[in-house]
Symmetry: C2
Subunit: 220 residues, 2 copies
DNA sequence: AATATTTTTTAGTCAAGACTAAAAATTTAT
DNA sequence: ATAAATTTTTAGTCTTGACTAAAAAATATT
């Protein structure tokens, strides 16, 4: 069955919200991310349920069906592969690609996306460290930790971010915190949990707990 | 001003129709190419005129304003650059790319399309030999002739096609008539103007006048 | 010149996807 | 257990871009 841009965006957003909770997703939560009003969301949820892509009972919240999740994953796959393309091949910075990928993710061609995947050498993660589903819709298990959970003097590598707003990414860039950087937490300030981190053996940089929480790492 | 997909498609089609005539474009002609009904076209023409992209007076036909032509050319530029990308980088055949480019042409990012242009090495023509407008909207002058106008025993090179339906392109491929092929018209049959052509010095192939008319060449 | 045919426009509908305002259900606080 | 606050749904509108059927204008034919 064909999917409109609007439907694809709703499914993708319900998917994103489902990643961080086991509970049903609320109408308001969806409205916030889709940048629409709750009333519009109610309308759309009924349509999506009608098509068998979500389970929805009024006042009970929503969750994806198996088929809905399959569609959502294919959108996520396209979004992330295009982001890789934009950074690796077009020379964009990691804070510039999200908006363009929001458009490209709706291009409908199985053949194209699989050729793109091959062209990019089957990347496992996008420029923000987010996992890319393969063509069967399976997400690679990455097992990243948050920098905020790391003990002092442990070495790790920056693998991704838990939030990809342009301002946040630009901040990281300014601090030389980019993918692949070798990090060591030098000191954790117990008062506000801000930390000082050395980056690739050079002079430590101070970052807030809020920032550290959104940096994904793996142990070196 | 923002342009919707529908508006972009109408402008592009009015542009295409304007290429082959100096007359105003009729409602019916637009309806045929947009795959809509004349009544729908009338509606849209009023809206486009309202926005200043076409000159339209009822019963008089339509033509693009300067601004409308600028928009149309930017869509054509995107369409053709994406087609080059699909063939050169993604490995599609020339008969497979049009539908996908119909989608990609609506991606809105000046930065992206200019980076793509550079990535592809500033191609002058797309996989069907059609000229690609540069970022100022200037079309390169190619001066191609139709194979049907060539005299016997003159050598030429196949530079493009005047029609890019998949069936036509597949026919050419089957006959080994691809871009860059060296052609010599061996014989013109005066009865139906069908011709026999040698391709890259090898055994001649017979093609109808209809096919020859749609093959674009330059003198060798 | 009058009539027939074709083209184009108008009038009225429809579906998708948004909105606001008001009503109903649920949750939280007293 | 009520009352208050919050969330969600319903009801009614709007815009975009399609459609059909009918009317009007333009063009072609006799
Ligand atoms: Mn993104
Ligand atoms: Mn990303
Ligand atoms: Mn094309
Ligand atoms: Mn083309």
């Amino acid at each position: 069955m064909a999917t409109s841009f609007a439907e694809e965006n709703y499914l993708k957003i319900i998917y994103r919200l489902s990643e961080s909770t086991l509970e049903d997703i609320s109408t308001n939560a969806v409205a916030e991310l889709t940048q629409t009003k709750a009333a519009s969301v109610t309308d759309m949820l009924r349509k999506l349920a009608e098509k068998g892509w979500v389970n929805y009972q009024k006042y009970q919240g929503v969750r994806l069906t198996e088929e809905g999740e399959k569609i959502a994953l294919s959108i996520v796959r396209k979004h992330r592969l295009w982001e890789v393309f934009l950074v690796e091949k077009m020379g964009f910075n990691w804070d510039e690609v999200h908006e363009i990928a929001e458009q490209l993710e709706h291009i409908e061609s199985e053949a194209l996306i699989n050729k793109l995947d091959e062209f990019l050498d089957f990347p496992k993660t996008d420029p923000h460290g987010d996992p890319i589903p393969n063509k069967e819709g399976i997400l690679p298990e990455l097992g990243y930790m948050h920098l905020s959970d790391l003990k002092e003097n442990k070495a790790c590598v920056l693998m991704g971010v838990a939030k990809d707003s342009a301002v946040f990414l630009q901040l990281l860039t300014r601090l030389h915190l980019s993918l692949g950087a070798k990090l060591i937490v030098k000191e954790i300030n117990p008062f506000d949990r801000s930390i000082s981190v050395s980056i690739n053996e050079s002079g430590p940089v101070f970052i807030s707990h809020e920032v550290a929480k959104n940096i994904l790492i793996k142990m070196a």
